[in-house]
Every structure is written in C-alpha cells, then in structure tokens.
Amino acid sequence: MANGRTNSEDYYRPIRRLLIGIIVFVLILLTLVWRIDSPRVERFRMAVIDRVVPNFEWAMAPVTLTLKIVRDFQSYQRIYEHNQELRRELQQMKAWKEAALQLELKNARLLDLNNVRLDPDLTFITGVVLTDSGSPFRKSVLLNIGERDGLREGWAAMDGIGLVGRISGVGQETARVLLLTDNSSRVPVTIQPSGQTAVITGNNSSTPLIDFLEKPELVRAGDRVVTSGDGGVFPPDLLVGQVVEDRQGRLVVRPAADFERLAFLRILRSAPPSPIVEEHDVIIDQFEGLGG
C-alpha cells in the first residue's frame, strides 16, 4: 500500500512540476507582454473588469448602504454643531452670492463687448463611482459609464468643483479614472496670478507635488492652480486646486475636488486634437492658410 503510493507519487511529481513551470511561465510572460504592449493587455483588463465588477454590485450594495447609514448616524450626533456651522457658512455664502451676481453681470457685459463665443464642445457626461482602486499603491476609481456612452481615453474627470483625474481605460460599460493623486499622474497646469506653467505630479498622498516650476519664488501658498491645456490632454482653465506649502517646505496642491467623497464624476467631452498624418500636408495647409 505504502509502496504503491510512493510509486504513483514518483510518477506524478515531474508532471506536476512541469505544469507549475508552465503556469508560472505563462503568468510571467503575461507581465512581460503587458510591459511591452501595455494598451492591448490593458484592454483585456478592462474587458475582465467590465465582465466581473457589475456582478459584484449586488454584493457591494448592502455593504455600501450600511456604511452610509453608519456615517449618517455619526453625523446625527453632531447635528447641532453642524447646524451652527452651516448657518455661519450660509451668511458668508450670501455675501459671496452677491459678489458672484455682480461678477456675472460684469462678465456678461465684457463677453458681449468682446463678442466671445464659448466653446460648445465642452459638454459633459456624469457617471457614478462603482469602486475604488483597492490598493494602497494605486489611486483610481471605476465609473459605471464606458464606451457605450461614447467615452474616450484621456478625457478629464471633475467632481462639481475641481479636476479629479482622467479616463485611463474604457470598457464597454465601465471606465477607470486615474486620480490626480496617483503616482503615475502628470497634469500640466498654470499657477494663476503669476501665470507660470508647471506639472502636477501625483505621489499617492492627498496633496500632489508641483514640479518643473521655473521661478518658485513667484508662487505663494493660496495661489489658484488651473490646467494649462498644454499637451492637448485636458481642456485649459479647469480648476485643480490651491497651492499650499507642506511640512518640508515643498510646494504642493490641495485639490479643490473632494477626494474623500467621490460619488458622481463629470467627464468632460473634449474634442480630440486632429491627428497629424503627413507632415508636409500640415505645412502646405499652413502656407495656404497664410496665403488665403
């Protein structure tokens, strides 16, 4: 009996080893392929997410609901404080509203004077956040809108106020938004009063760094940071946040978007920059344009 078993094990082991070798090889090959031809594998990833995550929805809904109830309950406990706070804020807001109305009038008059037509391409689609990235090293969320709704890679995602990130993966019914705070996120920006351009580099903390700044001495804490539109990824003049100085004295951005509560995101439809097919065509076009 014992002999028989060892015999069969001897027979079985090499096959097993071979099998493991093959699986590990395939997995590592997949990683390498992903590294070399990332878009194709990412498309596969989005297809898998597309298939799997909506199935998880039914399991997630009760948990999310419970969490919301708990959070609401906590907020009931502080309701009096909240009320006071809100009243104070309301007072301030009334003053702001007055100022905003006046500015709106002024703006309308100025636009009228200049005969400006606002860009009609800048419309948006709103999506609901399904899941977050789920790992401490990646900052991204998944939306419930996708190719079906005409989404494209690279479009800007905003919450009500500020820039949140960009679309970095589109499935049929889901899309991934890479947040500003992710390690691999880079956003070209302008820092407002001084008009300097810089790049905002995510570093997985809640306050991304400001990089490639030519004259840091011109920038102060409290300056507004807006997208510059360089590189054609984002439309220009979307609010990103405010400059603050962190403990080590580096300049960082505190995003205007509320990353704690990402529930609905607006995806701005930006028209793709027209691709340059053949170089001399463009030059000829330009000459013709100059001539005409």
Partner: protein, 179 residues
C-alpha cells in the same frame, strides 16, 4: 462515501474561490478612495498559504493561479506577476506541508512569513527590473507587517469556520487526494 467526499472537495474549492472574491469585493468597495490605508494586508495570499499548508487538496494550483490573476487584473497591478509569486510560494509550502505539520504552528508562521518577505522583495525587484513604479519602501513594509500579522487570524478563522485544519494521521480521504 467516495462520491460524497468528492463533492465535499469541490465544495471546499468553491469556498476558497468565494472567500477570495469576498476579499476582492471588500477591497473594491468605494469607502474613501483617498484614504485607502497603507494598512491593507494581502488577505488572498494569507488565505492561500494557510489552506495550502493544511489541506493542499482544497487549493489546486490552477485555482490559485486564476484567482491570483483575477486579483491582479481587478486591483490594477501588473497582471500575472503577483499571481506567479503567490503560486511559487504556495508550491514551496505545499511541498513541505508534512514537515510543517509536525513542527508546530510557531515554526509554520516563521516559515510562511519568511516566504512572504521573500516574495515581497522579489516583487519589488521585478518591478524595478521592468522599470515600473516601485512602491515606497515604507508602504511595502507596512503591508508586509499587516499580512504577517493577519496570518494566524486567518488560520484560526479557517479552522473554526471552514474546518480547514491538519488532517488526522491516517485520514484516508486527504491521503488519497494527496497521492
């Protein structure tokens, strides 16, 4: 009897996949995207190792590979890398499961956590070689510590709730499956 034990085997395999999916769902719930704490143990790894050490027949390699790959895809990690590392470590533990069983839990824990440390390091090395973003060392260390601390908890839970503990000596069912 044989038929029933076969059914039981498949139920336990399904349980393994379901628990892994539950961990994934827990990871993916949008609680606070900004506050995805640094303290997040790799539960799937823990579970796999704990089950492989106790009942290797519940966690066939193909299942481990597929679950690992699914986790990689959903959690936006480099697809396949972590799955391959989990598979290699689980195979190391599987081949030593008899020795581990006689040595007692403390040594099992030591061995497993050393193995986890090795694959965490290998993962960082591979990310570096592939010129990808290597996560900050502190974050990796925190995750390692969390994973390492979570192991006994998962062992306890799976032995109580799922009766995944060392088979008795002469337990024909598991011996048969092992052979």
């Amino acid at each position: 009897m044989g038929n029933q034990s076969g059914l039981h085997l498949w139920i336990m395999r399904a349980a393994y996949v379901l628990i892994c999916c539950a961990f994934l769902i827990f990871h993916l719930i949008p609680i606070a995207p900004s506050a995805t704490l640094a303290f997040s143990p790799d539960m799937i790894l823990c579970l796999t190792l704990a089950w492989v050490a106790r009942r290797p027949e519940y966690t066939p390699i193909l299942l481990i590979a597929l679950t690992g790959l699914l986790a990689d895809l959903l959690l936006s990690r480099p697809p396949g890398l972590w799955a391959a590392l989990i598979l290699v470590l689980s195979e190391y533990i599987r081949n030593r499961s008899r020795r581990i069983r006689t040595a007692g839990f403390f040594w099992e824990w030591v061995r497993v956590s050393a193995g986890i440390a090795v694959i965490f390091f290998a993962n960082r090395l591979a990310l570096g070689v592939l010129l990808l973003d290597v996560p900050p060392f502190r974050a990796s260390l925190m995750q390692y510590a969390a994973t390492f601390a979570m192991y006994p908890v998962l062992v306890a839970v799976s032995s109580v709730a799922f009766r995944v503990s060392y088979p008795d000596i002469g337990d024909t069912q598991s011996d048969k499956a092992r052979a």
